[in-house]
């Protein structure tokens, strides 16, 4: 063997090749959920509740059924009665009874926009017309939207009290999680400095640009096909089958390209309804949402009320932290409180902690995961309090964080020790970054914040097959939202030591590949990547074995080098066969070469990020402009550097939107006032600066290439980073989001 001449360890890892699905996407050829049409397809429409809370007394569908061209009408009564079953499809647990009742209301509507009935007709116009002809008699019930209002003794109950009774007083509390250790009160009373504050925000939406849509075709023999975009077509299969009480293998879900999800496409809203309409009509049925439907009826992230108390010694050592929060659960039980508890204060070493959160049912759409679900809200409170603590202590806020930062082996809030986390390295990189010491202009302020997200692993299946010409196809069960086909191809090409273009990656349907959890939890590059590497290693082994048998040498004499099987000893030493040569003769050496890896990936590690934000505040108008932003993140190891940076930049932009302008606005009648992109104000290009990213690489020792999930972390710190920057620019602490111009103006000029 020659002396190692290469400095870089990797052939492909960390490079930036063009994604395999790129040309389709820049030319408009790619088929998304909203683009698919089936021959003979009918168009569906959904009638939604105008009331935030009402009992359904009767539904008269006769006029709709009589309309020429209408082929099916469905209501909640068409869905089977189910027994409670909590299912986990990779993104928090949900009870299928709730999912069913959210698809079509059963006896009560629980939020404005709750689906009540659906129709299928030969044109979209007819379907809408027919839906409008359905007459629903409601008994309007008192509604409740606010967290404290929903917790009041006389609040309307969203969930009917359980039959038989549990002995507990019925309430709107859907989930209650507490973790911690030590003696919080004693430590706080002994602390040199204590800061406390209440932080609040209304729900925000994931804001994916593609509205939900699907086509379902359910035949009389029970077999069905669904074409849709989602964060997990296996999730669509299992939830749809469970809601309809049919076998999973009777449904084949074909994933279409997905136009953004951010956690919001990890459940089913339309698919079971489209299935019912298809079964009734005998034809494929398309259902889609309008943008208004998306805002009114799909999962926002919960709003929150968060109380924080932090105590520190005079030298800045944190001695106690107490975080108590309430999250909107919406109409059904949501999950964010659990992650909220574990994402609040675990990034600091604190001996005495108590973190406690509840989910509160109310007459809003059921909260759904949104990028690091439950974490940005508590982080906003804790990192704002840290800023205040630094001011009170007269300490540099970055030094305060460095002094208290958790290291590997320190305990998380759950009591488990942290593994190989790169939090300290992020803080050091930020301190060394020119942004940290750059001068500021007039009316400008700099804020910082750090945060983390636990990430996830879980089940993924990958099939790697070799074509007769020695090219490779990776088939995964993981929808590609942000370039994961490129990442899989990179990892497979790395293992196989072949050019990137020699490996192509596709997302296979539920009948063509094994179970894979949703693309969520920042798990795909980690878990599906692990399966890809395992499958590639097995294919490499098979190719070497075929070569060994061809050469009639022991298998251990053949190694894979530089994309070739090479005989390393014996008579045939130095013989080489390319992948094409082995694969070309594979039909005469035992058959096609292919390998499947199905695994439940373990050993995932959390990601940590640290952000620096400069704002400029117009003191007269209260407008906040983001003038510079730097995001530092431990990414484990970047597989496709561009898409890692892209994840960070996208998360930051969403966080900035959350911080500055995005918010749900309900009126007193419980109706959403801003169900569109005009008044639900997501950042536009002119609102944003370039976002500098610094990728810190502290590899995950468990992953073959060191991957840590990267997608969710970057939305965690921006809320506090912006608020802390506004504080620095104006002297005002903004504890209520969004920091819209009117609120900043009021803070500066003392109104309201």
């Amino acid at each position: 063997m020659n002396a190692p001449e290469k400095i870089e360890t990797f052939r492909h890892i960390g490079t930036r090749p063009v994604r395999p699905d790129g040309v389709d996407k820049v030319t408009g050829k790619a088929l998304y959920g909203t683009d698919f049409k089936a021959p003979g397809m009918l168009w569906g429409a959904i009638l939604r509740s105008p009331h935030p809370h009402a009992r359904i007394l009767s539904i008269d569908t006769r006029a709709a059924e009589k309309l020429a061209g209408v082929k099916a009408v469905a209501t909640g009564k068409d869905l089977p009665t189910l027994e409670s079953l909590v299912m986990h499809v990779g993104e928090g647990a949900s009870d299928i009874v709730d999912i069913s009742h959210n698809c079509l209301a059963f006896d009560k509507v629980l939020y404005e926009g709750h689906p009540v009935a659906a129709v299928a007709a030969i044109t979209p116009e007819l379907a809408r017309e027919a839906a409008a002809l359905i007459s629903v008699e409601y008994e309007v019930l008192p509604h409740v939207l606010g967290l404290e209002e929903a917790l009041a003794d006389d609040a309307p109950l969203i969930r009917e009290p359980a039959k038989g009774g549990t002995g507990e007083t019925p309430s709107n509390v859907a989930m209650d999680v507490t973790m911690g250790r030590g003696e919080v009160e004693a430590a706080l009373s002994g602390a040199a400095v204590v800061v406390e504050g209440r932080y609040t925000m209304e729900p925000v939406h994931q804001g994916y640009i593609e509205p939900h849509a699907c086509v379902a075709s359910w035949n009389g023999d029970g077999q069905a096909q669904i074409w849709c975009s989602s964060q997990g077509h296996f999730m669509v299969r299992s939830l749809t089958a469970s809601v309809l009480a049919i076998p999973q293998s009777d449904i084949r879900v074909t994933p279409l390209e997905i136009g953004g999800g951010f956690g919001g496409k990890t459940t089913v809203y339309l698919e079971p309804v489209a299935m019912i309409l298809s079964r009734k009509s005998g034809r494929p049925v398309r259902l889609g949402m309008s943008r208004e439907d998306v805002f009114r009826a799909t999962g926002p992230a919960p709003g929150a009320i968060i109380d924080v108390r932090l105590g520190a010694d005079a030298d800045g050592t944190l001695v106690a932290a107490e975080v108590t929060f309430k999250y909107h659960s919406g109409a059904f039980a949501a999950n964010d409180a659990g992650a909220g508890v574990s994402s609040a204060i675990g990034h600091y070493r604190i001996a005495n902690t108590r973190v406690s959160g509840i989910e509160v049912l109310c007459n809003r759409p059921a909260a759904k995961a949104y990028r690091a679900p439950g974490a940005p809200q508590v982080n906003f409170a804790v990192e704002s309090a840290m800023d205040e603590l630094a001011i009170r202590l007269g300490m540099d806020p970055l030094e305060l964080r460095m002094k208290n930062a958790a290291r590997p082996g320190d305990l998380q809030t759950s009591g488990l020790p942290w593994g190989e986390i790169g939090w300290m390295q992020c803080l050091e990189a930020a301190k060394a970054h020119p942004h940290w010491s750059a001068p500021l202009g007039p009316n400008q302020g700099r804020g910082i914040a750090g945060g983390y997200w636990g990430n996830y692993g879980g089940p993924s299946t990958v099939n790697l097959s070799v074509a007769e010409d020695g090219t490779f196809t990776v088939a995964t069960g993981s929808p590609d939202i942000g370039g994961s086909r490129a990442s899989m191809a990179i990892m497979a090409a790395e293992v196989l030591e072949v050019p990137y273009e020699q490996v192509r990656c596709v997302v296979a349907d539920t009948s063509s590949i094994g179970l894979s959890f949703v693309t969520g939890g920042s798990r795909t590059t980690f878990a599906t990547g692990m399966a890809t590497v395992e499958a590639a290693r097995e294919v490499k082994r098979l190719l070497c074995e075929r070569a060994a048998r061809t050469w009639q040498v022991p298998a251990q004499h053949v190694e894979w080098r530089d994309g070739h099987a090479v005989c390393t000893s014996g008579e045939r030493q130095g013989s080489k066969m390319s992948a094409a040569q082995v694969a070309g003769s594979s039909l005469h050496s035992g058959g096609p070469v292919t390998a499947t890896s199905a695994l439940s990936a373990q050993g995932w590690l959390p990601g940590f990020g640290f952000h620096i934000c400069d704002v400029e505040v117009d003191q007269e108008t209260g407008h906040v402009s983001i003038v510079r932003y730097t995001a530092v993140q431990d990414v484990g190891r970047a597989i496709h550097a561009d898409y890692v940076e892209g994840q960070i930049q996208g998360g930051v932009a969403q966080g900035i939107g959350w911080a500055l302008n995005e918010t749900y606005i309900y009126n007193k009648d419980g109706k959403l006032e801003n169900p569109g992109f005009l008044d639900y104000r997501m950042p536009v290009a002119s609102d944003m600066p370039m976002i500098d990213t610094v990728m810190v690489e502290v590899p995950n020792p468990v992953h073959p290439y060191g991957v840590k999930g990267v997608g969710e972390v970057p939305i965690v710190p921006p809320l506090a980073a912006v608020a802390n920057a506004v504080r620095a620019a104006t002297g005002k602490r903004m504890r209520s989001l969004p920091m819209s111009p009117d609120k900043v103006h009021a803070a500066l000029h003392g109104e309201g």
Partner: protein
């Protein structure tokens, strides 16, 4: 089988919800068997375990419940939190 019984630490809400205790001592060959035994003490626990429970073996999350527990000292039962 481990030489001495396993220390089982039950985190909220499962302590109150099922067991009325924060610590238990049990013998189990693997995590499936452990859940069976926990179900005997807290009926209904097995049914919710897959959706709501994470198990940590000597401080590290373990999703493979066939993992043998010989030489293991402690299993923590903690709530499974959502991903994103």
């Amino acid at each position: 089988m481990s030489a001495s019984p396993l220390r089982i630490v039950i985190m909220p809400p499962f302590d109150k919800e099922f067991f009325g205790a924060e610590r238990l001592s049990l013998d189990a060959g693997n995590l499936f068997e452990l859940i069976e035994k926990l179900d005997a003490q807290g009926p209904g626990f097995a049914k919710i375990a897959r959706a709501r429970v994470h198990l940590a073996v000597d401080g590290v999350l373990e999703t493979d419940w066939t993992r043998p527990l010989a030489d293991v000292r402690e299993v923590i039962v903690l709530p499974r939190v959502g991903g994103g």
